[in-house]
Each structure stands twice: as C-alpha cells, then as structure tokens.
Symmetry: C2
Subunit: 156 residues, 2 copies
C-alpha cells in the first residue's frame, strides 16, 4: 500500500478498533467512532469519561488503533499512546448536534472527554504485501496535514 | 443482551478482531476470518504459521477476541487464550476449496495452522446495557453446543 492508500483507508472509515491493556492486565479491544485525523499520526475520539477503557488508559496509555476494510482486505495497525484529554478545543470540535443524549451537560459535561491517539509507528496489511510504517514516514507525511474530519471529506 | 443475542452476533460475523501482545510488548490487533465456533467459548481460526501474530501468540497466548456489528452497535469481547494448533482434524474442517492459493502444499502445508481461541470470560456492549459474561455462563451455555460454522448456518 502507498502512504496515500493507507490515509484513504483511515479517512473512509467510520470506526476503528482500539487495543489496550485493561486494569486486570488483559488484552482488551473497544470499537470506537473515529473520524477526526491529523494525517496518519494523530486521531481524536470522543467518549465517556466513566467508561472502562478510559479508566484503563489512564493507568496505561500504550495502545494500538486498527483501521480495516473487510471488503478490500486492507488494514493498518498504528502503535502509540491513547491519552485522555479534556481540552475544550477538541471537545467543541468533536461535538455533534444531538450529543446531549449521551452527555446531558453538553460540551462541559464531566462525562464527556476525548482520547488523543498519537501513533509512533504502524504496520499495514493487504493481499499484495504488508510492511512497517516508520515513525519517520508518519512525521514526514503529517507535516502538511491539518486536523480534519476524514469521513465527511470522503463521503461528501 | 441475552446470551442468545450474543451468540447471534458471533454467528452472523464473518470476521473478528484478535487482540494480543506482540514480541515487542506492544498491544496489537489482527483482523481474522472467524466462522467456526463451539458455543461462546471456543473459536477456530485458520492462518499462516509464518505470520507475525502466530509468532507473538506462541510466546504469549493471552488474547482477546472481539466481535462487533457497526450497524446495530453491538459488540462482545471475549478474554482468554489463543493457542496455535496443527491438529489435522481442525485443519481438514476449516479447509475450503481454493485454499491452495494460500497454502500450496494443501492441508499438510507447514504454513497452514489454526488458532484455537478459548474464552474464560467476556463483556458485551449495546446501547441498552453492557455487562460481564462469566466463565460459568459460558460453560453452562456451551454444554449443548457442537463445533459449527455459524456464518454458514446463519446465511444459508
């Protein structure tokens, strides 16, 4: 896969799978709505502060974020850190009309937070080949990138 | 979710996400074709012996197996062990016509193996509630179950 094909897979995805270690030391996965990306290296996910994966990530932020397309048999696994953030800028950016049903207190609801996933490296998989994605390649690609809703851009 | 609804989600799935710790100690995920199940507790997956997740699982078999439906917002994460097995019975059972393109040596190809995932417990997620799935509930449910291709049963 070219780096643009990897970015295309990420942008057209609505969800990703977040892999982390939970408080019992178990491997755990949570499916997350993930459409806000800055290039290949930064991904912002809104979630409930009270959820179990947030508690686990506060103790151990090492995580992976996996995007895949079961139709084209393409996948990319990003390795890095998933950090919990309550920065109002991100919370405003990710807020959608109707989110009050999840967070009755609105943008400042204490149960509303964002996960900032920062990739250090990655690995991609497709029938025609799999290979690593280096930290250098991610940094180089991301230089020109802004934080954008990839799904909206792809599906508009 | 009732236990039958959890089983229904597993059976209608064609793929699952396998979460494991790789040889660098990183959380890692691999999307796997997963249609052979014995109840809720045993899941058999065919794969390449030479693939990196097999190497990782041979060193650390602790893993999770995650089934999800992005349309109905249902998911179940099973926690347990993913063990590499070359039992000919399983290899024959999972062999499909045309698999020679992946394993030129046929059923006895050394690059063809199966992962036997055994769940010790689980957790399910749906909008109307999330809860743990105990070892006892899995054992009780599985008593009457045979090893079956759930996807074929569901889609025939």
């Amino acid at each position: 896969m070219t780096i643009n094909e990897i970015k295309g897979l990420i942008d057209r995805s609505l969800f990703a799978s977040l892999g982390y270690t939970d408080e019992s030391g178990r491997q755990n996965i949570r499916r997350v709505f993930c459409v806000w990306h800055k290039g290949l290296g930064t991904h912002i996910i809104s979630t409930n502060t009270s959820s179990s994966h947030v508690k686990s990530l506060l103790k151990n932020s090492n995580a992976c974020l996996y995007f895949s397309d079961d139709t084209s048999f393409e996948a990319v696994c990003l390795y890095g850190k998933a950090e919990i953030c309550t920065d109002r800028h991100y919370k405003e950016l990710l807020w959608n009309e109707g989110d009050e049903k999840y967070y009755p207190g609105g943008i400042d609801d204490e149960d509303y937070c964002v996960i900032v996933f920062t990739a250090e490296s990655g690995r991609y998989y497709r029938a025609d080949g799999k290979a690593d994605l280096s930290a250098g390649a991610i940094t180089e690609y991301d230089k020109e990138c802004k934080l954008e809703n990839g799904y909206s851009n792809t599906h508009s």
